[in-house]
Structure formats: C-alpha cells, structure tokens
C-alpha cells in the first residue's frame, strides 16, 4: 500500500527549429522540397496581404465582421501543409492562411465576409469544412470524420484548428477524450495566440501548457514555436504520420500571437499593451521564414520582393471579382436553398412571400 509517484505519460516536448534571425538547428531541420518551401512562403504572403485587404474593406463598410489571421500564418500553413488534399480540413473562424493553402478561393471568402451564403459553397472535390464560429464546436465533427475514416479502412486524416480559448469548452474535452478512446486519426491543432478576445492565456487555464491537456486523454501533446513554420511542420508531420498509421490522435499546441484584433468588432487597446504587440512583431513568422529561405539560397532578395509584388497584384483584383459575382447572385429566396433535400410544401409557400402578393397564412 504505497504512496508513490506515478508515471502516467511521456514527458511533454517543446520544439523550435528556426530562430528569429532565420538561423536554425540543422539536426532538426526537415527535409522539404524547395518548391514546397517557396509555396509555403508565398501562401504566408498571400494570407498576410489578403488579411490587410479584408481589414480595409471592413473599415470601408464593404464587408462585415471578420477575424484577422496576421501573426498566425506559420501555425496554420506549417500544420496544413503536412496534410494531403484528401485529408479533411476542419477550421475554426480564423483559418484564412490554412484556407488559402488548401486552394480556397479568396473571392469565395470575400463573398462570405460580405454576407453572402454563396461564399461557403464547398467545391465538389474539397474536403474542407465551413468556418465554424461557436468556439470548439468543430472538434467533435473532426472526431466523427476520423471515426468514419477508420471504420471505412481509409488512411486519411482529419485536421482541426482552434484557439487557446477553445480548450476551456466542454466540446474540446469531449472530442479529445473520444478521439483518444478510439485512437482516431485526427490532428488537433491549437493556435495558442495568447488572447481569447480580452482574456489572456494565463487567465484561461491554470495549466502550464495547453499541450499537456492531451495527456489526460491518452493523447500525445507537443508544444511548438508557432511562429516557426519549420517546427510546426515537423510536429504536424509526425502527428499526421501517427494518425495515418492508425496510432491515434495528437494535440499540437502552436505558441503564436494574434497581431491584430480578435475580430473587427473589437478594440484590443482596452486590454493589452502595445509593447507586447511590438515584442511579438519582432517574432513575426514571415520575415523569419524569408531569412531562412534567403540563407538557404532558395530565394534571393530580389525574388522575395518580386513575390511580394506578385501576390499584391494577384489579390488586387479580388474585390472587383467579388463584386461581379455578387451581381450574379440570386435574390432573397436563395435563403430557401439547401434547408432540406426537398423543399417541403409549407416552405414552398413561404418562398413566395418574396416578390408576390401571396397570403402569409396559406400553408400550402
């Protein structure tokens, strides 16, 4: 009848590969194809640029509230790039960078942000879930996708994204426990961006890390420098490999920072110091990765600048294209589409409210 220390889980790991100067630990450096590295960098630039445009459009009243991604590009692209196209992408509401990596169309996202349901039409071949706003509610969905993958004998993976605040919700704990119990092929990517609207990470949980929350559910957890795209990629590669091999889920905590507002409805100056933001700007994932690519000789300065320009040019026409699309969209009765497989008679009657003098009391 002893009282003794128990070993309940493997020790938690922390991973960082690339420092702020773009120097790296060569032993940890992943062996990635140059073309892919360039693609990752370009997508980071696209996300940053698109974020800026969305913010301008929001301030100009062209679109509604949205949640900027700036600062979290490495976490999202580092993780998402570890998945194949056939794997499932289950986002929260800030995954602009992951969305672009998946081949998402900025015009669609613009439509979504301008308040048009057509913006979330998922292309036929994409295994992408729509933006999910209620915090942590998408995690159980990813778990179900993963259960079906296993039952159908496939080797795909479900990758889901969420923030530090989400780890407080019941859905987070239920999803992790379920995934752990059935050893499901799901990768939980937590972007710990330090702030859940106005509540700092240390007021969200007394837990020292978020990664360790996996351990209680029998899920390996790893904390990585979320502004180091190589570290995120390595951790995600391992997690995806584990899931694909049938060895269960992983919780990856990316330590990162939300450089801008929670959403455009928010004013961070009410709760956080500009100094803190400045400190994190020095750890911006984009220049860090650029320095790495330059040091490796993958991109020279001119090419990197040129890429910035070409991204700007590419996205320069998005608003005009979105406006053109909006012109083609249907009227209010579009809201009756996709409510059911077949529109029930009473809804068919209600649809006629718009543009006719039908009596409302007629139930069909």
């Amino acid at each position: 009848m002893p009282r003794e220390e128990m070993e309940v889980a493997p020790p938690l790991e922390y991973l960082s590969i690339l420092d702020e100067e773009g120097d790296l630990d060569q032993e940890l450096e992943p062996d990635l194809d140059e073309e892919e590295l360039v693609q990752m960098y370009r997508t980071m630039l696209r996300a940053r640029r698109f974020d800026k445009l969305l913010l301008e459009w929001q301030r100009g009243g062209r679109i509604g509230t949205f949640a900027p991604v700036s600062g979290q590009e490495a976490s999202q692209i580092g993780a998402m790039s570890a998945a194949r196209d056939e794997d499932w992408f289950v986002p929260s509401f800030r995954e602009i960078a992951a969305f672009l990596w998946r081949g998402g169309d900025p015009v669609d996202m613009t439509l979504y942000n301008a308040g048009w349901n057509e913006g979330v039409a998922i292309p036929e071949d994409a295994r992408d879930f729509p933006i999910s706003i209620p915090v942590a509610s998408q995690l159980p969905l990813a778990t179900g996708l993963a259960y079906a993958i296993r039952l159908r004998g496939e080797d795909d993976v479900a990758m889901t994204f969420f923030g530090d605040g989400a780890t407080s919700e019941g859905d987070f704990h239920e999803a992790l426990n379920f995934a752990g119990t059935f050893q499901l092929p799901v990768v939980f990517v937590c972007q710990n961006n330090q702030w859940a609207i106005s509540v700092p990470r240390e007021r969200q949980t007394a837990s020292e890390t978020l990664a360790q929350k996996g351990l209680a559910y029998g899920i390996p957890g790893i904390q990585v420098d979320g502004n180091d795209i190589l570290a995120v990629r390595v951790a995600a590669d391992e997690a995806v490999k584990r899931a694909r091999a049938g060895d269960g889920p992983t919780l990856v905590e990316c330590v990162t920072y939300r450089l801008k507002v929670h959403t455009t409805a928010d004013d961070p100056s009410r709760y956080r110091d500009e100094e803190e933001v400045e400190r994190w700007k020095e750890r911006d994932p984009i220049p860090r990765f650029r320095r790495y690519l330059e040091k490796k000789g993958i991109l020279d300065e001119g090419e990197a600048d040129e890429m910035t320009d070409s991204v700007e040019e590419e996205l320069g026409g998005v608003w005009e294209e979105a406006e053109e699309r909006i012109e083609t969209l249907g009227g209010p009765d579009v809201m009756f589409q996709h409510v059911y497989a077949d529109l029930p008679p009473h809804l068919e009657r209600q649809r006629k409210w718009f543009g006719t003098d039908e009596e409302e009391n007629d139930n069909g």
Binding site: G64, T65, F93, Y112, A114, G115, W116, N117, G119, I131, I133, P134, V135, A136, S137, G165, A166, S168, E169, G170, D171, A196, I197, S198, V199, R203, Q204, T205, A265, D266, D267, R270, Y271, I326, G331, P332, V334, M335, F336, V339, H346, L347, Q350, R351, W353, F354, D357, E359, E360, N361
Partner: protein, 326 residues
C-alpha cells in the same frame, strides 16, 4: 433623468443593483476589462472589483452551472452569454438544473439568477449571432423569459429580473442596443415580470409584438392610422414566458381582429402559443383569421439577405391588411 441607449440603461441597472445588494455578481466572457462585447458591463469591474465582475474562461456550460451553484449559496449571479447562439453550449445546464432546481429540491434550493444574452438579427453580424430563440427557453417550465423593447423598460425589467426569486432568461434585442435613446430615471424603477403593456391603444386590430419588432410594429400602426384611419392596438409582451395573455385576448374581444409579429421562425414559433390563447379565450369574438407575420422557416441567412428575412414594415402592413379582412 438621463437620455440613455439600451446598452447604457442596462449598465445603469446592473450598477445600481450591484450597489444596492453586494450579493449581486456578474460573470461571463469578456465582461470585465472590456465591459462586454457590447459594453453592457462597461466600468463595472473598476467599481466592484474582479471578484464580483468575473471574466470567465470560454465555457458557457460552467458559466451557467456555476451561476446556479452561486445562486443556491447566497449570491445573485447575472451571467452573460456573449451571444444567444453560444447559449446552446449551456443548454443542458439550463434544462436539467437551472429551470427546475427549485422543483428538484422541493423548494429547498431555488435558483435566483439571470442569464443575459444579446439576440436577434439586423446588425450585420456573423453566422450563429442572429437567431431569435425565445421559444427554446419559453418551452422549459420553471424559466421566465424577458425581452425588453426600449431602454427604459430594459432597465426596469432587468432590475425585476435580478430581484426575482426564479431564474430569468433576459434576452436583449441587439438591434435596439443603440438604435434610440429614452429618458431613464435615476430613481429606482422596476417593471413587474409577467406583465405586458399596451404600447399603443386602438380599436380595429390587436397586434402582439416584442423586442426588435415592437418599434417597427408601432410605426406601421401610426402610419396606417394616419393614412387610413385604422386604429391598431399594439401589445408589447415584455415577458414572453409566463405569458400574460389577458391584455391581448381581451383586446381581441374589442377589435375582433388579431395579428402577431415576431422575428423568430414561423413554425412552432411563439406566435403559435399566442394564437392558441386567442382561440381559447376569444374565439367567438374573432371576425377574421389571425395573421402571423414572422421570419420564414429557414436558418437566418448571412447578413446580405437578413433584411429580407426579418419582417419589415411592408410585410407587417400586408399582414395587418390580411388580418382586417372579412
């Protein structure tokens, strides 16, 4: 007297009740430092401290469940669901404990608490932020469901909700948060729960409305009076549950015509109960079918189409006309 928006009036009620009764506590996501995403709790943390104005983790189930524990143990919690769309995370606490704790404990542990939540469409919000789900809560025995229609009543109803011996779901129509100002007296004012009011008197048609639909319903009533001499009586529910039906069923005995306006979806919506009460109590006085002027039975569309979704003045007027036929 000061002119206040609904946000300011609610803040005023919270501040006065916290001053009056030190057992009153406020908790929720971002209610402290930033004063709530709509600023309803603005400044309270500076005045009453972090122990009484609590920024919680993002976890609605525990916000509501813990509020019940606090209520049973001597506090008067007012918890905030950041948007009504996030209250579903807490639905099992509301249904299984909050609504029936008095009943479950044979009266030993009542749960005097308020669950505040902004709700409703019309402010270009994101998905899941615009629903009008008063029936979710009204269908649960043991809860009171309150919806103000203007700043002054918002203040006086919130005061009553805080002092009520039973749990109150206090739904705030966010379209009206800053839409207009009203005089709100500095002195205490408490409108009793369970009492509707006649917002406009009339003799030709009885219309029931509440929340964000109330101001536009009254506007149409004024227009139709001026243009056509038709006098519409508008009853503002204020408390959706328990439903104070006598004022509108008696009004129908006078007018012989009735309509209900709500932004909730039509089928199984609050209009169904209101129409049933009229049929039960005043059927023999009706001269025409009752009209429901509501949102259609579809999810609230993204905001580019939300104005078409909400009953607007044209549809309200069309509904009035149909209710007046025969």
């Amino acid at each position: 007297m000061a002119e206040m928006t609904m946000v300011e009036a609610l803040n005023h009620a919270l501040r006065q009740e916290m001053e009056r009764d030190e057992s009153v506590v406020v908790l929720g996501e971002d209610v402290g430092e930033v004063g709530g995403v709509f600023r309803v709790t603005d400044g309270l943390v500076d005045e009453f401290g972090e122990d009484r104005v609590v920024d919680t983790p993002v976890a609605e189930a525990v916000i509501v469940g813990a509020s019940l524990g606090m209520a049973v143990n001597g506090l008067r919690p007012i918890c905030e669901m950041q948007f009504s769309g996030f209250s579903y995370h807490a639905m099992h606490q509301i249904e299984n404990h909050v609504a029936r704790f008095r009943w479950r404990t044979r009266g030993r542990f009542p749960a005097p608490m308020v669950i505040r939540m902004p709700y409703g469409a019309g402010v270009r919000a994101l998905e899941h932020h615009s629903e009008s789900r008063e029936v979710f809560f009204s269908h649960i025995p043991g809860l009171k469901v309150v919806i103000p229609s203007g700043p002054r009543l918002a203040r006086s109803l919130l005061v009553s909700a805080i002092r009520d011996p039973d749990p109150v779901i206090f739904m705030e129509p966010k379209l009206l948060y800053r839409q207009f100002r009203e005089e709100v007296p500095e002195d205490e004012e408490a409108h009793p729960l369970g009492e509707s009011r006649v917002a406009r008197e009339g003799s030709d048609l009885t219309v029931v409305a509440w929340g964000a639909m109330l101001p536009r319903t009254v506007e149409v009533a004024e227009e139709i009076a001026e243009e056509e001499g038709i006098e519409v009586e508008v009853v503002d529910l204020l408390t959706v549950s328990p439903l104070d039906s006598k004022p509108f069923t008696e009004s129908v005995r006078k007018t012989g015509h009735a309509a209900v306006v709500h932004e909730a979806q039509r089928s199984w919506g609050p209009g169904g109960e209101i129409v049933a009460r009229i049929m039960e109590d005043s059927f023999w006085y009706l001269e025409a079918p009752i009209q429901r002027i509501t949102a259609p039975d579809v999810p609230v569309p993204f905001f580019a189409r939300e104005e078409a979704y909400l009953p607007d003045k044209d549809r309200i007027r069309k509904g009035f006309r149909a209710a007046l036929e025969a």
